[in-house]
């Protein structure tokens, strides 16, 4: 046996062991990452799932003309100023006739959400013939009632609901006058300070308009910059300098772009605060480097033979780019753009500076009306004192994660379906 073989034999076991260890370490890293994801998801889903249903209370509402101070139920002015809360208060008093005293009655009235009066208003506006009749309606319960019913047996002891109110709620539950239903308003309403009436739709619309502006600006500018740098620009000190700068910009903390946006768009150009246009402009600055870098990479991956063939057949350089390089590079560019957009969708820090961290109830109607975005909505809810907002926060995180997963899946699908390999 030669000396070399002998040496190999000696160390063979050790090398196998080292390889096993190396593999085990890799597996452990993957497992650690997976575990973190599992913990995160169980925490968020565990906290947030209860926000997707809410409690309703069944009450007998008498549409009393005198209580409402309405003569003509088709007159919008009278409808707007009528006292709908009085109907609910009446119904509650009739339901619990034994309740007396100011304080007790106040607690009683608090069983039903303060938004229920507006539900009655809308119902009467649609059905004026209801006036004078009596009907059984399901009305939204207050968040304290909702939370009390969602808590477990032992935790109920310490809920915020007053002692008496618990007895009333228990009575309602026994009689089947409470119901938990799908929380549709969570997906159709804007923000609210009452957890049971708050929804994410305003933030989703705000995110949509912001992303629209970002996409409309960042994609064409990014692609144009990438095409010029890759296909037309001469290789010299100046283009090297630009390249270094683009790579640097991609690593700049996002809050800096917010400060820049505040200084330029709001203070210098006098654009309004808290609007998606400014948010979109700031996020454009932030995502541009990402888009340029990925667009350049996908242009680079188009084989030179295609360019040479087109040039050989007499195409101009612009024709080469427009007819051949760009269509082939587009799937990669789109993937890069979608990933850049997903990053922008989850961004709050730069928006802090330009006033998009605000309480906005009305659903934004366009890129010029005040709006907030999903991650900011999550931040605002996480900061609210009402305990029910904890589960609302997690539910909003689930919505945001849903959008992010959708966007990233789209990027993967696009790449799989359109990408050409050479």
């Amino acid at each position: 046996m030669s000396k070399t073989t002998e040496q190999v034999r000696k160390t063979l076991a050790r090398r196998y062991r080292a390889e096993k260890r190396f593999r085990a370490m890799g597996m452990a890293s993957v497992l650690f990452g997976l575990m973190a994801v599992v913990v995160l998801f169980t925490d968020i889903i565990g906290k947030g799932h209860s926000a997707f249903v809410e409690t309703y209370i069944q009450l007998e509402i008498r549409w009393d003309q005198d209580e409402l101070y309405i003569d003509d139920p088709t007159d919008p002015d009278e409808l707007a100023y009528a006292d709908y809360d009085a109907l609910i208060k009446n119904a509650l008093r009739e339901r619990f006739p034994s309740v007396e005293g100011r304080l007790e009655k106040r607690n009683l009235y608090k069983l039903v959400s303060s938004g229920a009066g507006y539900t009655l208003r809308d119902r009467l506006a649609e059905n004026p013939q209801l006036l004078g009749t009596t009907e059984t309606l399901w009305l939204l319960a207050d968040d304290d009632v909702d939370r009390y019913l969602k808590l477990g047996q032992e935790a109920q002891e310490s809920a915020r609901l007053p002692e008496q109110a618990r007895a009333w709620v228990d009575e309602l539950v026994q009689e089947g006058s409470t119901d938990t239903r799908w929380n549709a308003s969570f997906f159709t309403h804007g923000d609210s300070r009452e957890p049971e009436q708050a929804g994410v739709w305003g933030a989703v619309a705000g995110s949509f308009f912001t992303m629209l502006v970002t996409l409309a600006l960042a994609f064409p500018i990014g692609v144009a910059a990438a095409i010029y740098l890759e296909e037309f620009a001469p290789k010299n000190r100046f283009t090297d300098f630009i390249e270094v700068n683009i790579n640097n910009l991609a690593a700049v903390p996002s809050i800096i772009f917010g400060l820049l946006g505040l200084a330029i768009f709001i203070n210098l150009f006098g654009m309004p605060r808290s609007v998606p246009v400014v948010g979109g402009l700031v996020l454009t600055l932030m995502t541009l480097p990402t888009i340029i870098i990925s667009a350049r990479a996908s242009i680079k991956s188009v084989p030179p033979s295609i360019r040479e063939a087109a040039l050989g057949l007499g195409a101009s350089r612009m024709q080469v780019v427009m007819h051949h390089v760009l269509p082939l590079a587009l799937p990669g560019m789109l993937t890069g753009a979608i990933i850049g957009m997903a990053q922008a969708l989850g961004e709050t820090a730069p928006l802090l500076m330009i006033g998009m961290v605000a309480f906005i109830v009305d659903i934004p109607g366009g890129p010029l009306s005040p709006a907030t975005v999903l991650p900011v909505q999550i931040y605002l809810w996480a900061d609210s004192p009402e305990a029910s907002f904890v589960s609302m926060t997690s539910a909003a995180i689930m919505v945001l994660l849903g959008f992010l997963i959708m966007m990233n899946t789209l990027a993967v699908v696009l790449r799989k379906r359109l990408e050409r390999r050479w």
Partner: protein, 351 residues
């Protein structure tokens, strides 16, 4: 074809970026300011938006100081109409307002907010005096041997501060210095305890800046943990750690009574009644300021202000008290409701 898409995109982009210049006017009220007043102002704004024909006002939580800066920047629709504050406007801020053309500023006091010291429900309720708070949290404290000198805070556990307190490590979670709650806590609780030492109190007349430096400095050796602006986070941390004590606004205590309990300070526990009557020592006033030049220009300001100062909002049984705002006494409410109607501007002499 792809080209067309790109050009269409560019065209829309151009349209968007030239749009705002022409659309500078604003039909909604813009409000900025204190994060302490934010939970109350938002409730009023939401109700106002639902009951009136005006859009719901937009409210940004910028902190009292940041709000004043934006508010006093000038007159015109690009500047906010109202700013909330968890303290009164400073003379310097008022002068800055004047210098920038914001001449008529109307002051409305909306009520009180208590700052509570609380711990987890699973732990024992604490009974503290202002002096205990000062000794436990100040950076430098009077020498324990009784001489009139200062030593860096030597106390590690609560029972070293006061033998009647539990033998527990001093670990207080509270807001960072940028917060209005922290300002008020330093001023009312820590300085309040500092004043109980006669020789330190005497220093106030002699050397005010030195007095302030001693009486408002919080220790930085790890006993006071800056837990960020998020009070919910403090509550979650208290729940997880029964030995820790937290500092936050009364409304968070009110909403989380199932998790935390307020400590008794100076013999008074932080209840609605005690803060309202002024018995509870750590409470402050909340305000908002209206830019009178915008009234009539931005629609709905009068309506919003009237909604805020109506008895059904900031009154004793108003909906704001349910959110944790402590109402002012009746006479004061009446005066401010009247001021809100007449919009009498400040002269600057009252500061």
């Amino acid at each position: 074809m792809k080209l067309k898409v790109i050009f269409a995109g560019l065209a829309t982009a151009l349209m968007f970026s030239t749009g705002p210049a022409s659309a500078a006017s604003r039909d909604y009220i813009s409000i900025v300011g204190s994060s302490t007043v934010y939970p109350f102002a938002t409730v009023v704004a939401e109700r106002f938006g639902k009951t009136s024909s005006h859009p719901t006002p937009k409210i940004e939580s910028t902190g009292s100081g940041g709000g004043m800066k934006l508010f006093c920047a000038g007159v015109g629709t690009e500047h906010p109409d109202i700013t909330n504050a968890s303290r009164r406007i400073k003379k310097s801020e008022f002068e800055k307002c004047q210098a920038n053309g914001v001449k008529d500023v109307v002051e409305i006091k909306v009520g009180y907010d208590g700052i509570v010291v609380a711990n987890a429900k699973s732990a024992e309720q604490m009974t503290l005096s202002l002096k205990d708070i000062f000794l436990a949290l100040a950076k430098d404290v009077p020498n324990p041997d009784g001489s009139e000198t200062l030593v860096p805070n030597p106390y590690k556990t609560w029972n070293e501060v006061n033998p009647s307190l539990p033998k527990m490590k001093i670990e207080v979670l509270g807001p960072p210095p940028t917060s209005g709650t922290r300002d008020a806590f330093n001023e009312l609780a820590i300085e309040g305890g500092c004043k109980t030492f006669p020789w330190l109190k005497a220093m106030k007349a002699e050397n005010k800046s030195k007095y302030k430096a001693i009486c408002r400095a919080v220790r930085e050796d790890g006993a006071y943990v800056e837990a960020g602006e998020n009070d919910n986070l403090i509550i979650q941390k208290l729940e997880a750690n029964a030995k820790a004590v937290g500092v936050f606004g009364y409304s968070f205590l009110d909403q989380n009574r199932d998790k935390v309990q307020g400590s008794i300070i100076g013999g008074v526990s932080p209840t609605f009644e005690a803060i309202s009557s002024g018995e509870y020592p750590v409470s402050r006033s909340l305000y908002f300021y209206i830019k009178k030049a915008h009234v009539g220009v931005i629609p709905g300001i009068e309506g919003y202000v009237r909604e805020f100062t109506s008895e059904k909002a900031f009154g004793e049984e108003g909906y704001l008290s349910e959110k944790g705002l402590i109402p002012s006494p009746r006479a004061e409410r009446k005066a401010f409701a009247k001021a809100a109607k007449e919009l009498v501007p400040m002269t600057g002499n009252e500061l």
